[in-house]
Symmetry: D2
Subunit: 143 residues, 4 copies
Amino acid sequence: MIDSYKRYTHKAQYYETDQMGIIHHSNYIRWFEESRIDLLEQIGFGYKKMEEVGISSPVLEVKCEFKSMVRFWDTVYIIPRIELFTGVKLTISYKVMDAVSGELRAVGETRHCFLDTRGVPVSLKKKNEEIYSIIQACIGVDL
Amino acid sequence: MIDSYKRYTHKAQYYETDQMGIIHHSNYIRWFEESRIDLLEQIGFGYKKMEEVGISSPVLEVKCEFKSMVRFWDTVYIIPRIELFTGVKLTISYKVMDAVSGELRAVGETRHCFLDTRGVPVSLKKKNEEIYSIIQACIGVDL
Amino acid sequence: MIDSYKRYTHKAQYYETDQMGIIHHSNYIRWFEESRIDLLEQIGFGYKKMEEVGISSPVLEVKCEFKSMVRFWDTVYIIPRIELFTGVKLTISYKVMDAVSGELRAVGETRHCFLDTRGVPVSLKKKNEEIYSIIQACIGVDL
Amino acid sequence: MIDSYKRYTHKAQYYETDQMGIIHHSNYIRWFEESRIDLLEQIGFGYKKMEEVGISSPVLEVKCEFKSMVRFWDTVYIIPRIELFTGVKLTISYKVMDAVSGELRAVGETRHCFLDTRGVPVSLKKKNEEIYSIIQACIGVDL
């Protein structure tokens, strides 16, 4: 599945700008989410699958370092990468890159756990071996 | 209750600006919601009460006419007014006014119906006479 | 140019949902903007061209009627159509349609004028005959 | 000025919720900004003053750790604290606390620099001794 992985692109919207004439920094956190959901979808662990399995994966922490500015109508790649996955914990890193120049715009990270339908932390290893293996296989892969 | 009604104020935030240096127009729709929820709360039909009664009230239509610009850190009043209420239908109008100069910034309107927990349209008159009377008493009142 | 017009698609994002489990209604106003900017870009009157010509086109009014719900990860078409254009005034209508079922999700409208760099209303007919003709040619065209 | 400091409160809005029934995590980043601007305003270094002095203060980095959930209509305190200030660099930490129970909802941090009107990094110490001293006096103060 990773071989056919399609890079996540976002076109910076007018309503994402602020009065400095750049994209407001809070939107990067939303772009991380877009690319994360897209990644999980592409590897077969999308939202519908998560619901079937009875799992949610809340954000425990988010970080973003802003390197250079994104402007209205720029196209950026948001490139997620699974840095750590134990079945209980998941850490994903992100690079935001200008799609034309390749310049780095931002780097970031989110940390997650897995909850069952009652909100209790679970191990994906125990809950669903198949999904566990799929995510395992993606660790450290540049997408 | 209307006698002690407290006007709804919003401070225009930096993240609400766009690169024209003004508040992005989509935020007014959100401010309408803020003031609408506040109004219903103040007259005793807030979100918790709605849930108890088993009612939701989706937005069927929204309109906004932009008269003059709101800028970052301006304080505005958002003044809702119940224009029409039949128990089945609800129309609320809104005025957005600069809190300092009193200048009109925008006028708008939202239309709503009432749904029970199964998503079926209901009449508040039949569902809850008390709330029906409260809202009735507010029709056309300047808040 | 209209022959090669590419329909505007939007994937409904998680951060656009609300606690009713549907896309929050304020986002449709943003989607109208996305599709409007894309339309103007495609017909050759994009943001950069506007800046060159020294024109901005603020939103004077926005309306949206909600027909059925959009949910997370749905793909929708947003289909703008130039309804009225006099060089001084511009009205665009919008249809939001589910990309899979073709079901209508919402219809709406925005009204605009044109301002020069000093903020004075201008006629595009006088300011730039070429762009005036391009937009003229699009009136009423289903995109 | 710090003696009369007024704690920053935010009422969690409906449009800030997501389909998990909680406030979407990206909004905390916006709340940090709200409280930061309010803090700077209260100590006399608000946006207008910044403009006069010819200074902007972009966000270089943002972090947020989510401890417990904020729900619709909850009132939270966002409590900023200047952790580091050298005139060239500024680090602010944030606590988000439920206004009723006092429970901790999130902690976070933003890092900033100062730019002059040409976008060149400057030292506030050299640029404006008065403001430098004001901010200095706030380091580590619980607000």
